[in-house]
Amino acid sequence: MNWRRLISPHALFWWGLLAVTWILSTTSFQLYKALDARWIIRFPKAWEMPMESWISDAMRWLLEDATFGLFTFREFTRFISAIIEVPYDVARAALADGFVQGQGSNAVEIAPPLSWIAIIVIMIVLGRVAKDWTLALLVGACFLYLAMFGQWDSAMVTLASVVIAVPIGVIGGLALGILSFRIPWVERALRPILDLMQTVPVFAYLVPILFLFGFGPVAALVATIIYAMPPMVRVSTVALQTVPAEVVEAGKMAGCTRRQMMWKVLVPSAAPTLMVGVNQVIMLTLNMVIIASMIGAGGLGFDVLSALRRLDIGGGIEAGLAIVVMAIALDRVSQAFSTRLPDEVMGRDLSYVQRHPWFTTVFVVVVLTYIAGLFAPAVQDYPEAATLTTSAFWEDAMRYVNVTFFDTFEAIKDVFLSYLLLPVKRFFTGIPWAWGIIAAGLAAAKVGGWRLGVMAALMTTFIAATGLWTKAMITIYLCGVSVFIAYAIGVPLGIWAGQNARANRWVGAFIDTLQTLPSFVYLIPVVMLFRVGDFSAMIAVVLYALAPAVRYAAHGIRAIEPQMIEAGLVSGCTRRQLLWRVKLPLAAPSLLLGLNQTIMLALSMLVITALVGTRDLGQEVYIALTKANTGQGIVAGLSVAFIAIIADRIVSAMARHSKERLGLA
């Protein structure tokens, strides 16, 4: 061990900062008592900015008085509602409710929704077209599961919102991506907005959306689209930028106009990468399913949410699993489309049916099941009698585990709480706000230059000045502990997977599954086992944030040039030396990027864990949502975003430094 490194001026700065913070944190309460200066631990009420009421007033003005001249703001939101609502109603009728005429109890059914057989066949065909029969069977099995386990109706409502949200998200994202590819200032203007969109917790904009669009599926769809679109914008811009210059030149030399260039050269050449974006939109849409049900989306998300509220273990797990199953099916199909190669071209002398065998199959099945469904209800709706339920099984299993292992779980929980969670919590909540601002500024300035330092200090000041200091510190403590644990588990796993092909397969499958799960699903078993509280929140966050730590570590190890490792081997490194002296230093930038992503995911999950009773900024947002208090929601949301942005900039700056040191930048 090289002790000298620990007392270098560089390290002394960090030790000093930590020491001062620790001393101030442990003595702040005594200081306040001794000096009778309450401002030390609490931001003076008189200085607080009434941001909440400003924002709430602004929203009210928007809704009641704002006008664009030709039309008012309210008409504008109604217009958007209509654009989304019409196709959504059609999709929902086709998949779940059937087409009806008339209102309420006078409604007459004109046509039933697509039968369950037809939908399963459509999914199988999609799987076959995207890749092969294996995928087709997997997808078919997933949807059959939904029917057999009695989740069909809810699942179809959810599918209807996916069917609407995904195309809008994709088209909107592509359009913005094209704009920012074509016009440099659009890209410059969009980048910070996208950064903010991806760090603001979803809950924060649920509140204004609720305010603008009212409770219901439209508001839920708007929230989903806003949440799912940013990655598509990014992916589109990058995909277009990375089309090889020669291909663009070939297009120019062929005499393409600008429009031909875009639609005949750029977009088709970028199609595989664009499909990655589509996959992301689908996954994020499913991720939003439960959250969106808080502002009026029905379907599986609503089932999970209400089960969670009732503490109905079995029901929650069943509906949660149904979301997972649907996510797996849609994820695999869309991934397969992104790696799909164009079809072999068939002769032109074939008939329409021969050229489009799959479309024809689907058409025939839809028509046949429609006709058969008129006479045999089992063809139209999956027979109730044949459904299975695992609800009781989960209930029993949970009860058994709880009864048998109660003491063990309690012991684990106590150890974590008293030796890790509580001390860290005391440390963070004890930091006086004034020193917190200075410390954040100093740390950021040290890593990323004075500009970053000023930005960090200003953002921290915003948090203190809006009266959210303590809640923000609880957020940081929970996030910090969770990230620490997720990183401590994830990085070794990733290193293992990076060096060992078989480990990679298993770890990869495990991580893939974790990532397909919507964030809420983690909460159900954790709450069942450990009840509400910080410890449950921590476990849920760790599970959710594990994936990037593993992924980036594995990637970092795998991306090392084989020659570097050979050079280490011929120098006589042992395996341990090879790992510590060669692989880890070279993988450092990748490890730091993983840390960055882990922090981001942890923060986004943290807001969700407010549901299980944490007292952090997430709770603040959640309270705002239940009270429909726009100002409170946005202020708390911005605070979370600021924490995320400071962390992101600091870690990115560290990653950049380590890249520069390795000469990779």
């Binding site: 120019k252 005499g255 050449s269």
Partner: protein, 342 residues
């Protein structure tokens, strides 16, 4: 050299740096030092090129010499910072976007180093692409594309995708695509550099065969001096953005303008480049002579005859007038690389 001029480029500059246009206006002929002082990079400097109709004009240079930038200025894929480019006497740089699109659609074809085929289109669709862009009806453009595919020897692969073809085959598609509009001028940017040496040779032969059929005006970029010598009517050698010398392969070998050019000429098989005119002893005496040869004959082609004979051969010019003699010793000098002066 009496060909009518197809493309003329006069004093073309391409500078990279802060506001290069204003800088060039202030300093119409900046030196290396001046450029370095203001942090400009001179990718192309004062390029003068005249390309005759039906000529194979090769621009040769190592990587970073500015050859790719120059050809992109000629096709206006890159806007030159200054200078003049005439195509059929028309000012290329003054053309509007619409005119440029029309020009490219009808009169220019280009082949790229890494093929630049569209991955989502079949061979047939790739070749038909320039016609598709022009709005040519499907039947017509596909018929035309079929012809081109047959010409480049890929018949039967029309429905393959680029990824299913070897590098050489992909470049044949690139060639077919660039020729499908029957361009008047044909740009080839290192078309064979990404190919294996054996395939490269095969493609060079194919290229010469095609040119024999089509007689296009060609601007061919390469970093390979052997390739340049093999294909060119004339070669422009570039270094650091400047054209060092423009000459026929034979002139280049006989009279390299700088040491830099001479460096390239050392290792090439001179017998295949030089004609008898370059190595003969001027003036004829009384003989006896073993026979008559033309002054344009390549040394390598007639070496056996000259060397096997007991007497020197007479060298005749185009009109049949004897202008000099050549003997075995002169031929051996060339073949083993001994300099006349040594």
């Amino acid at each position: 050299m009496e060909r009518p001029l197809k493309m003329v480029c006069r004093n073309v500059w391409k500078l990279y740096g802060p506001d290069p246009a204003a800088f060039l206006r202030a300093n119409p002929a900046p030196t290396n030092e001046q450029l370095r002082e203001v942090g400009m990079i001179g990718a192309v400097r004062a390029a003068n090129v005249q390309i005759g109709e039906g000529e194979i004009f090769v621009i040769m240079g190592l990587s970073g010499s500015g050859k790719s930038t120059l050809v992109r200025c000629l096709s206006r894929l890159i806007e030159p910072t200054g200078g003049e480019i005439l195509f059929d006497g028309e000012d290329l740089l003054a053309m509007s976007e619409q005119e440029l699109i029309q020009l490219r659609r009808k009169k220019i074809g280009m082949v790229f180093q890494n093929f630049a085929l569209l991955p989502h289109l079949t061979v047939l669709q790739n070749v038909a692409f320039p016609l598709d862009v022009q709005g040519v009806p499907r039947a017509t453009r596909e018929a035309r594309a079929h012809e081109m595919i047959e010409t480049v020897g890929l018949k039967g692969r029309e429905n393959y995708f680029p990824r299913q073809l070897s590098g050489g085959q992909q470049q044949r598609v690139g060639i077919a695509r660039s020729l499908v509009v029957e361009p008047e001028i044909w740009f080839l940017d290192e078309p064979f550099s990404a190919l294996d040496p054996l395939i490269r040779r095969e493609m060079q032969d194919e290229f010469l065969r095609l040119q024999g059929l089509l007689k296009k005006t060609i601007v061919f970029i390469t970093h390979d001096f052997d390739e340049a010598i093999r294909l060119a009517d004339r070669i422009a050698v570039m270094k650091d953005g400047r054209i060092v010398q423009t000459a026929t392969p034979e002139e280049l070998v006989m009279n390299p303008a700088t040491d830099y050019v001479a460096e390239f000429t050392h290792h090439i098989p001179r017998g295949k480049v030089l004609s008898l005119r370059s190595i003969m002893s001027p003036g004829t005496g009384d003989g006896p002579y073993a026979g008559d040869l033309k002054s344009t004959d390549r040394v390598a082609d007639v070496a056996d005859r000259i060397e096997a004979a007991d007497h020197p051969h007479r060298v005749l010019d185009d009109s049949g007038t004897p202008i000099g003699t050549v003997d075995g010793r002169a031929v051996i000098d060339v073949l083993i690389g001994r300099r006349a002066s040594e």
